[in-house]
């Protein structure tokens, strides 16, 4: 049997900038309250154009679950590892808080969590996924900016989206091969 390859496909054009996803993730994953502690974020991209011809988009992001993950490479204790499904995780017990991964990550996806006493980041909500539930951010979004699923299943929503629409990935020049895909 073939392994699953998990990914998130985002259609950020729909994003309302409502922050439901960021709050949901905080509760789901015991992410402490604070400006520097978050697994997922929504950014207002710069306003384009001149009044009254304006244009603005909102971009949400989280750990890219890189197939070629710089954070994993620099971790001295192998606390950061990749699951067979391609999900990059941190073994909180092994983390010695050296923060090498935080420097290495090109997406600024990691932070120090008091709760786990470890560096941490998005886990694709694997604890939910293993129970057949969707990641919290995917589920709560009013407009369903994200779909989560298995790239190896050609009928999954993610596969179908990627085969039917062009997409971008963030910072391709870093050669990280992210598992987050932004459809256009």
């Amino acid at each position: 049997m073939k392994n699953k390859r998990y990914a998130i496909v985002l259609d950020t054009k729909k994003c309302l900038n409502c922050k439901a996803c960021t709050v949901a993730c905080k509760f789901e994953n015991f992410v402490p309250v604070g400006d520097d502690t978050y697994r997922i974020w929504v950014t207002e991209l710069p306003l384009q154009g001149k009044f009254p011809h304006l244009h603005q988009e909102y971009q949400t992001s989280q750990c890219q679950h890189c197939e070629n993950a710089p954070c994993e490479k620099v971790c001295p204790t192998k606390a950061t590892f990749t699951t067979p499904e391609g999900v990059v995780l941190v073994d909180y017990k092994k983390c010695i808080l050296c923060k090498a991964c935080m420097t290495a990550c090109p997406y600024d996806a990691r932070f120090v969590s008091e709760h786990h006493e470890s560096v941490e980041k998005c886990t694709f909500c694997m604890h939910r996924v293993s129970e057949g539930r969707e990641p919290a951010c995917v589920e709560t979004c009013p407009v369903r900016v994200r779909e989560f699923g298995d790239l190896n299943d050609p009928n999954s929503k993610v596969s179908r989206l990627l085969s039917s629409r062009p997409y971008l990935q963030l910072k391709p020049e870093k050669n990280t091969r992210p598992r987050l895909f932004y459809v256009l």
Binding site: K14, L16, N17, C18, K19, A20, T22, V23, A24, K26, F27, E28, V33, G34, D35, L47, K50, F51, P52, L54, H55, Q56, E57, Y58, A136, E139, T140, C141, P142, V143, R144
Partner: protein, 779 residues
């Protein structure tokens, strides 16, 4: 060895007076022996995880939730993916609801004021004492003023409000004020003047959507906020008119920065184009409407060129929009929205919207504006006693009261349109009108109101012109507030009764009308943390104490009293609330079980039904039974029956900006800013100021400014942006609260109640939040 201690620890020594001197009295222990020994582990919530369905109450939408309770503690609120109305979403506030029961700031026990009002001196009392105290005060006021309406009851919508009215009706006051006139009364009135009811928009199926002044991306309304992006049909066009480039504007195919207060002009010109170019739905107009010829005559002068001068939108754009709208009809929506407490002529604005929908036949069909359907619940046939000592509402009896709050009545060009300047034409029985009500109380006209109950409303923050609200509260001899948190209003109360949170209480079944009608109910997701009660229990408690005071029942027929005791008290309030709910659902077998399991219930799988009002023989709720483009009742009332364009009565002085107010997706009016998970998203509000204007004034982004109206002044950060027109400024509501204690919201940002002038819409009694002009200065 033990004796060689540092001197500080001398209390540990043999000679310590702490040993001998401390023979404490009996019955002081908070802890007692546990029931079983050896200990029974099964009573500990060990490693349990439960999922309990209910509904969100962080705003009015009541989205479906599934509480995830781990070891007895609410860990997470998940959206209910099957919920027909919320479509499986849960917003930031809904998610942050987890912290509501666990907020240390919440009210925990009944509190009785011991110092001066607002001084903050309280003592704890038991619920029994509280019920007695309230009942006694009600009796005293009734005795003193010989008028039960001398006590007013304010409330905000919510499932438990039903039981608040048990209290109101058991006392017999007719003075009730709800939040409606602070929110959508003009909208309801305007649309109803045409269609006889206030409809919803079928955004999931519309091809063309015109939104004026609604920010559905931020002021979330389900299912609309979901549908307009998640389910938008391929090729759906969205046109947004708003003086601000909102998050919704950012989603639009076209955004028109319309001049504030001229929306009506834009739509009138559209109607003009559609009629003059013969683009309207002839058959629909003929079959269903009344007054087309009069309308045609009225709009003849409202050409796009005329409107361009009013709205500052090019005539060609108006023409284009009109043609597109007609082209996509009937799958075109002019979006009714919700909050419409904007301008003094707002009812006519909404009437104009409705007329556009009507002439294009965009009514009660897929993708159009559709009347709400609802699922009927069985009601309890409760008869409250008829009290002799009850006078009519103050805001109805009052005449000429409102001249202070209606813009310059004398030279008012509105008089030409027939707007009354003495009272409200169509006051809702239950809702009342906040502004008129407050004026009447302040002037003791027609009679004194000296008692004030407040259930989960916070008028100190939410009603414009806070100084008047404070004066009104000062007049009261008795104030009782039922709340979850020590709100600004609760702070001025004589007695504060703590209400359980929505996650801890049983709430009755509630039918929510809409294109997708549902029934909802709440069950406790967790056990109450403190000694709080629900309105069901509070009303029961107070009414029982009232029954012990004979003077409260001396103006009714004794037979009524016997019936009341049996039918209301014994059969309803003394029974478990579940019995009440089961009775509500008697006609829907299986509904109670379904509600326990899913938190909502639908008939027919919740599928929409279109076209009920288009069937032969259907009578619209209007004088003629038709869709009235020309409103016959308005004519009878001396109001202008057609949506004649209303010029602004209040004009800015040079250098003034029109003040606009709105919402974000992460705060609900004034109640959520103190939640740590929402506060971290936004820590204060900021005033939007157009880049060019800021430059003229030398104001830079992020610096503090003073914003001043005729009512008051606030200090606030400036957000300098291209996203707003130069003639207006904006900030989101609910900040800068009075409470030093809303530790997070206090002194962070500005309050709107401190600067918004209390202007009244005299047709529906609504407030006008956008009729205030301000100046901005560097702080």
């Amino acid at each position: 060895m033990k004796k060689k201690l540092m001197s500080r620890r001398k209390f540990l020594g043999l000679s310590s007076s702490a040993i001998a001197g401390a023979l404490f009295g009996p019955n002081l222990n908070m802890l007692t022996a546990a029931p079983t020994d050896p200990f029974d582990y099964s009573i500990l919530p060990k490693g349990t995880r439960e999922y309990i369905a209910s509904n969100c109450a962080m705003c009015v939408n009541k989205c479906g939730i599934i509480g995830e309770v781990v070891n007895g503690k609410l860990h997470k609120i998940n959206p209910n993916p099957r919920h027909v109305k919320s479509r499986g979403m849960l917003c930031a506030k809904g998610n942050a609801g987890v912290s509501l029961p666990y907020s240390p700031d919440r009210l925990k026990t009944p509190l009785l004021r011991t110092g001066k009002r607002g001084e903050g001196k309280w003592k704890e009392i038991s619920w029994d004492e509280a019920f007695k105290y309230v009942a006694k005060n009600l009796a005293d006021l009734k005795q003193k003023y010989e008028n039960r309406s001398s006590v007013a009851f304010a409330s905000t919508e919510g499932f438990q409000e039903e039981f608040y009215y048990y209290l109101v009706n058991s006392f017999g006051s007719l003075n009730t004020v709800r939040h409606t006139t602070l929110c959508l009364s003009t909208n309801i009135q305007g649309w109803s003047s045409v269609f006889g009811s206030f409809p919803d928009a079928d955004l999931a199926n519309a091809e063309y959507v015109l939104m004026l002044g609604s920010d559905r991306a931020q002021a979330l309304i389900t299912p609309d906020s979901v549908d307009f992006q998640r389910y938008k049909p391929k090729g759906q066009k969205l046109i947004v008119l708003d003086p601000r480039f909102t998050e919704t504007g950012a989603k639009a195919d076209r955004w028109y920065p319309i001049k504030p207060r001229t929306d009506q002009g834009f739509v009138l010109a559209m109607i003009n184009v559609i009629i003059s170019e013969n683009l309207y739905d002839h058959k629909f107009v003929e079959t269903y409407t009344h007054g087309f010829e009069e309308l045609k005559e009225l709009v003849a002068e409202y050409t796009p060129e005329w409107a361009e001068k009013k709205c500052e939108i090019a005539a060609d754009e108006i023409r284009k929009t009109a043609r597109e709208f007609a082209d996509h009809a009937p799958r075109s929506v002019i979006y009714p929205g919700r909050r419409s407490s904007f301008y003094s002529h707002e009812v006519y604005v909404r009437q104009t919207f409705a007329i556009l929908a009507a002439i294009c036949g965009c009514w009660d069909t897929k993708g159009a504006v559709v009347p709400k359907s609802s699922i009927k619940l069985a009601s309890h046939d409760v008869m409250f006693p008829f009290f002799n000592l009850t006078r009519d509402r103050v805001d109805r009896e009052a005449v000429n009261l409102v001249k202070d709050v209606v813009p310059s009545a004398v030279q008012c060009p509105m008089i030409g349109t027939g707007l009354p300047d003495d009272s409200c034409a169509f006051l809702s029985e239950k809702d009342g009108s906040w502004i008129t009500f407050r004026e009447a109380v302040l002037q003791d006209d027609p009679y004194p109101v000296r008692g004030f109950f407040c259930f989960k409303q916070n008028p100190v923050q939410s009603v414009p012109n806070v100084k008047k609200t404070m004066k009104m509260l000062e007049k009261m001899e008795f104030i009782c507030v039922i709340e979850q948190q020590m709100s600004d209003t609760a702070w001025y109360a004589d007695i504060v009764l703590p209400h359980s949170t929505y996650l801890e209480s049983w709430d009755p079944a509630h039918s929510i009308g809409g294109i997708w009608p549902i029934v909802e109910m709440r069950q406790p997701v967790i056990k109450p943390l403190f000694d709080t009660k629900t309105m069901f229990e509070i009303s029961g408690g107070i009414i029982h104490e009232m029954l012990k005071i004979p003077s409260l029942w001396d103006d009714i027929d004794p037979v009524d009293l016997v019936d009341f005791k049996k039918n209301v008290v014994e059969d309803i309030l003394d029974k478990p609330i579940q019995d009440y709910i089961k009775h509500q659902l008697v006609n829907h077998p299986g509904a109670y079980k379904q509600l326990l399991k899913e938190g909502f219930y639908t008939v027919d799988g919740g599928r929409p039904t279109y076209g009920k009002t288009l069937k032969p023989g259907f009578r619209f709720k209007s004088k003629t039974g038709k869709i009235e483009l020309f409103n016959e009742r308005y004519k009878e009332f001396g109001l202008f029956p057609l949506p004649k364009y209303c010029e602004p009565e209040i004009l800015p002085d040079p250098g003034q900006y029109r003040f606009l107010v709105g919402r974000t997706a992460w705060n609900t009016h004034t109640s959520t800013q103190n939640n740590p998970y929402l506060w971290e998203i936004q820590k204060e509000n900021a005033v939007w100021l157009n880049t060019g204007e800021a430059k003229k004034k030398g104001i830079v982004d992020g610096e503090y400014v003073r914003i001043k109206s005729k009512i008051g002044e606030q200090r606030i950060k400036a957000y300098v942006t291209e996203k707003i027109r130069p003639d207006c400024v904006f900030y989101v509501n609910g900040w800068g609260r009075k409470s030093p204690g809303m530790s997070r919201a206090y002194k962070s940002g500005a309050s709107e109640a401190e600067i918004i002038d209390d202007v009244l819409d005299t047709i529906s009694g609504g407030v006008c939040m956008h009729e205030t002009f301000v100046t901005i200065k560097k702080a």
